[in-house]
């Protein structure tokens, strides 16, 4: 199948969108225009988000939930309005199921830690099993290694097929009556694979396991309905959805958030405190000790409003079209091997590749000299790289502002790199 720019269906009006992102018009060294292909790492921010945060600092800044004064009320209102926006964006049944965290990592650690401390029905111990996969980001591996080491439970994982999909061949063995938790990435940050999470969640829920989804790459790219996903917990981060750093989200089913013990102790998460003991607030505040990321929440709300205005169906279609075009163009480069699915089917907009004879660091250095920003390294997914027998890779990743011309620039930059290193 040959994809040409003129036949690309589903592309957004990138000229209009790019006008919203001030950074996309800046020039780099040697007056080169920025070609930003590192959005899976962090997305760029539209002026709507930047302005909302500046406006909040300039006019409404105060601490939340404890100040009686007018500014305190305004800040609290803005912060809690962002919670409503998040709930609506991911179709959470209740705003009280939205816990603000620092990032996805903290959200996943919150679940893994509180499960390690849980007693009764939710307690995990020897003989119990936790299931993850070989394509996880380190932030969805290490917390579960810590949990299983601390509780004596066993960590197991799905392997991967050669084309970068989850190997579901042993699902009946992996998900069994001993399984307490199944924690998977919805969309792989390295391979781009979109996993069949609803089907796996159904199998996991059938044996009574808790299902956790790392949606760090899914929420930015796909329309997300947390209930339809079949999960019990869904984690994502603000800075990958055109929002600010410093804020992430954990959605959890209300009865589980109520049953789990607190995570961090401190202000805001209590009901009452005596010197001997404390009682705790209900969710979500039970899991939000201390002054929260207030202006970051405001920025996240503005970011999700921005995406909603464009429409997540449209964002997903753009991502699909640009990824198909990139896969086609990259397949024309001799010596380039894509790690992960090579067709834009159930596939997100991150493409990791190897270039024969040139190390990823050197690829990204040469591309950077042309103004093209990609990521080189293991992308915090060392086991997935090991699975494909490579130490590291170069990753180009796309978002709603990525244009076919930028893909062309990438391909030309890769060819330039090959000539520079004498491997073409």
């Amino acid at each position: 199948m040959t994809v040409t720019v003129s036949s690309l269906n589903g592309l957004l009006d990138t000229e209009r969108i790019r006008a919203d992102f001030p950074i996309l018009s800046r020039r780099l060294a040697d007056d080169r225009p920025l070609v930003y292909l590192d959005s899976a790492n962090t997305s760029q921010k539209p002026h709507q988000v930047i302005d909302a945060m500046a406006q909040h600092y300039a006019h409404h800044n105060a601490n939340v939930a404890r100040a009686v004064h007018q500014l305190g009320a305004e800040a609290t209102e803005a912060f809690e309005a962002a919670r409503d926006t998040v709930a609506g964006f991911i179709k959470a049944p209740s705003r009280d199921e939205i816990v603000f965290t620092k990032n996805s990592s903290e959200a996943l650690n919150l679940v893994a830690n509180t499960l390690a401390w849980a007693r009764g029905d939710l307690s995990i111990g020897e003989g119990d099993e936790v299931v993850i996969s070989e394509m996880e980001h380190h932030s969805n591996i290490v917390p579960w290694q810590l949990l299983t080491e601390r509780t004596g439970a066993t960590l197991r994982w799905f392997g991967l097929t050669d084309d970068g999909r989850l190997d579901l061949g042993d699902i009946d063995d992996l998900i069994n009556e001993r399984t307490k938790v199944v924690s998977l990435t919805w969309v792989s940050n390295m391979l781009g694979t979109v996993n069949p999470v609803a089907e796996i969640a159904r199998r996991a829920r059938a044996v009574g396991a808790i299902v956790v989804l790392d949606a760090s790459q899914a929420v930015p790219q796909l329309p997300v309905d947390v209930v339809a996903s079949g999960a019990d917990f869904v984690a994502f981060t603000g800075h990958k959805v055109v929002g600010p750093t410093g804020i992430g989200v954990l959605w959890g089913r209300r009865e589980l958030l109520e049953a789990l013990p607190p995570f961090l102790g401190g202000g805001e998460m209590i009901e009452t405190v005596t010197m001997a003991r404390s009682t705790y607030a209900g969710p979500p505040h039970k899991f939000e000790a201390g002054t929260p990321p207030i202006v970051q929440a405001v920025g996240l709300g503005a970011a999700l409003d921005y995406l909603s205005t464009i429409g997540m169906e449209q964002v997903a279609a753009h991502e699909q079209a640009i990824t198909a075009y990139a896969l086609q163009r990259l397949s024309e480069v001799t010596g380039l091997t894509v790690l992960g699915p090579t067709e834009a089917v159930d596939r997100g907009g991150a493409i990791s590749f190897e270039l024969e004879g040139v190390h990823p660091h050197d690829v990204s250095q040469l591309l950077d000299s042309l103004g093209i920003a990609v990521r080189a390294g293991h992308h915090c997914a060392k086991p997935a790289h090991a699975r494909f027998g490579v130490q590291s890779s170069t990753r180009a990743s796309f978002y709603l502002y990525t244009t076919p011309a930028e893909i062309d620039a990438l391909v030309e930059g890769i060819r330039h790199t090959q000539r520079f290193f004498g491997v073409a």
């Binding site: 660091h361 050197d362 250095q365 060392k382 290193f421």
Partner: protein, 165 residues
């Protein structure tokens, strides 16, 4: 930055055909160092005889900068008395941590002056230092403590800082 000045011919030559590559016996210490950011790694052995660096052998996986840097290290340090080798190490470390403010001393560093351009790229400094930090560690483990302790402790702090996150 100009890519020709970063990737000097000497660096590309060593990358394509690294010198003294492979792990050899005998040796007194073997270390394994990784760059946690990118996953580059090196396993490096030192063989010291009568206060001399008799051999440095290694198995490495990484970018052109880290591969060439380790290759040039072996050319420079094999055959030197240990204190002289550590002095070259120190000079190289100072060059790479200078952010481009130090003029490289070709009399000491020979081919390693080619890495002067890398010193201006914070993201790549640890690539160039990977093999060198491993060498220093291996010599220390081999029990060759040739300099005063406080100097060594100060170096260690700096090296840790460059490994970064």
């Amino acid at each position: 930055m100009d890519m020709q000045s970063l990737y000097q011919e000497i660096i590309l030559d060593h990358y394509k055909a690294p010198h003294h590559a492979g792990l050899r016996d005998p040796y007194e210490a073997e270390v394994h160092h990784v760059n946690p950011t990118c996953g580059d790694e090196v396993t490096l052995r030192v063989h010291l005889v009568d206060g001399m660096v008799e051999d440095v052998s290694y198995s490495a996986e990484g970018c052109s900068i880290s591969q060439a840097s380790t290759s040039i290290l072996t050319d420079l340090l094999i055959g030197k008395p240990v204190p002289d080798a550590l002095a070259v190490h120190q000079t190289f470390l100072e060059l790479l941590q200078s952010r481009g403010t130090v003029e490289p001393d070709e009399a000491v560093l020979e081919d390693a002056v080619a890495f002067a351009g890398v010193a201006r790229l914070p993201a790549r400094v640890k690539c160039a230092l990977l093999g060198w930090v491993a060498f220093r560690d291996a010599v220390t483990r081999a029990g060759a403590a040739y300099e005063n302790h406080s100097q060594r402790a100060a170096d260690t702090v700096e090296i840790t800082a460059t490994k970064g996150k």
